[in-house]
Amino acid sequence: MSDSNASFKLVHEDDQHTVLMLSGAWVQGSQVQDFAALSKELHAGAHTALLVDGTALDEWDSTLMAFMLQCYNYCSEEGIDFDTRALPAGAQKLLTLATAVAPHKQTESPQEHWLAALSPSRLAGQAGDVIMESLAFTGAVTIAMGRLVTGKSNTRFEDFRHFCYQAGPSALGIISLTSVLVGMILAYLGAVQLQQFGAEVYVANLVTIGVLREMGVLMTAVVMAGRTGAAYAAQLGTMQTNEEIDAITTLGISPIEFLVIPRMLALVVAMPLLTLYADILGIVGGGIVAGGMGISPLQYISQTEQALAVHHLAVGLIKSVVFAVLIAVAGCRAGINAGRSSAAVGQAATEAVVTAVVYLIVADAGLNILFQAIKF
């Protein structure tokens, strides 16, 4: 790298002809004057021809070429004749190459404020789109289920066992951890309040009813949304990117029957079983805390027995089936409608989890109101 700096000078030969004298080393790291300085100078005088003289150039690289390209673009805009004869041969060739294709004029999309993405009407529109898409997707799934029941479906059941394993046994570890902890949290929460009335023993009832009806199934669903729902979205999104979904469609197979139904059924089978497992561990977790509060295991078990009723268990299991369908719909819909780039697959996975969690909470609230109304 030379220590001399890159510089240029405008020399007016006569009224119309101007020479741009370049000197020094036009390489990365050398001090180059801004093009704006030159354009101002050029603008001041009326020029019709500009000759670039590069004979005093030391060494040059893309720094010079970037500058030359700006000069060329400026001159062609202003109708100035741009003459590069006196540039080094390599630079002339590169400039010819760079100017062979006219720059693409981007259709100006109006710049919008960064807060515009938060405008309520737009957010509502987006939410509306997601809901409409989900409804359409649910409709398609329902039709596919109908075809499955009537035996006309092209569902591949070789995959089904694999999905069941993914959604069931391989989730046991994480479900064990969360459900024991949730049982303990519920017990703590209840025990602190019940102690004030000397009714600690009712912690068992609180934990049993709370876990069976609500927390066991909800926590399982949230874990499965993050685990399996996101996995479905990523799998189907990647298939979309690889044109696998196109291949399935053009083979005359509905991607919903072929890809979505086995995944959904696997979740519908696995979720109630996982919920049952989570319920048991949740009650055990509550028992651990109750033991720490001076309630004997025997007391805890007998209280639990009293609180245990088939309808509480049924509420949890009914919810688990509904949640399984919602998680599968959210995951598969995000995956199938994903764009065709690696970024889109990530977006689909995020969307799958977010929509699934929202669906879960809304559906849970709705179901609770329903069960309350029918006194179940």
Partner: protein, 267 residues
């Protein structure tokens, strides 16, 4: 092992490539002179791309070495390899453009990492590099928004961002229509001529091979080694290996092609 020739830009010496016990190619020895457009050719599955990945240092040789300007690559420390790599530009088979970044950000990334340009200068250089490959004005587009041919050219723009001494191409014209593929060849050739860079490319597009390659090596899948080396037109007409002649004539060459090659020789 013969020492690398002093004038060679890249020297491959006794290179054996293997995945575990499975040998892909053995005892490859050839030189690539400065300023050449060098083609690695061979049938599908012969290890062309594997050889390229070895040259790029993405895979380590099972035996032998590759020298750049006389310096061993596998013998160099990680930092020295990094310094050597900085003088290379690489264009991957499917482009390898970062899909979450615009074209401008893609091309700007190596400039931000390895040069002292400031933000305004980077924008100017990016505009120039994109203009060079005929994509001036496409700065704010994402890779997903442009066509396959444009994507290849965008990848080339990123490859030449740092004014490399060596340009590597993996199947540059794969998946392009004949016109786009021709334009890309012309672009590679013109860039080579005006920058003096050495070009190494893996391809089996005969049209490109004859149009731009100055030298080539043929890797044979059966004998698992290189069976011929030289100018592709020469090889097509005079190679002693029937396989190479067949490859370069799309299998239309017969063993009695001496008449044809004589005619070609007189032209």
């Amino acid at each position: 092992m013969p020492p690398p020739a002093s004038q060679a830009h890249i020297s491959v010496r006794d290179l054996t490539m293997a995945y575990g016990d499975f040998v892909i190619q053995r005892e490859l020895t050839f030189d690539i002179a400065r300023g050449e457009i060098f083609v690695i050719m061979g049938g599908s599955g012969c290890g062309k791309s594997t050889l390229l990945r070895h040259m790029l240092g993405l895979l380590a040789p099972a035996a032998g070495d590759i020298y750049y300007s006389g310096h061993s690559f596998s013998g160099a420390s990680a930092e020295e390899q990094e310094t050597m790599r900085r003088r290379w530009g690489i264009s991957y088979q499917t482009g390898g453009m970062f899909s979450a970044m615009t074209l401008a950000e893609n091309v700007a990334l190596p400039l931000q990492l390895y040069t002292s340009y400031n933000t305004a200068e980077i924008a100017d250089v990016v505009a120039y590099k994109l203009a060079l490959v005929g994509l001036g004005g496409y700065q704010e587009y994402y890779p997903a928004e442009i066509s396959g041919g444009m994507l290849k050219r965008a990848a080339l723009a990123r490859a030449i961002a740092l004014d490399p001494e060596i340009l590597f191409f993996d199947e540059p014209s794969a998946g392009l229509d004949p016109i786009s593929s021709r334009l890309l060849d012309d672009l590679i050739m013109e860039l080579q001529q005006s920058t003096g860079a050495t070009v190494v490319m893996v391809t089996h597009e005969l049209a490109s091979i004859f149009a731009i390659a100055t030298n080539a090596v043929y890797l044979d899948a059966n004998s698992r080694t290189m069976i011929d080396y030289g100018n592709p037109v020469d090889l097509r007409d005079h190679s002693k290996q029937a396989v190479v002649r067949q490859f370069l004539t799309r299998g239309e060459s017969t063993d009695t092609n001496s008449e044809q090659s004589q005619r070609q020789g007189h032209e």
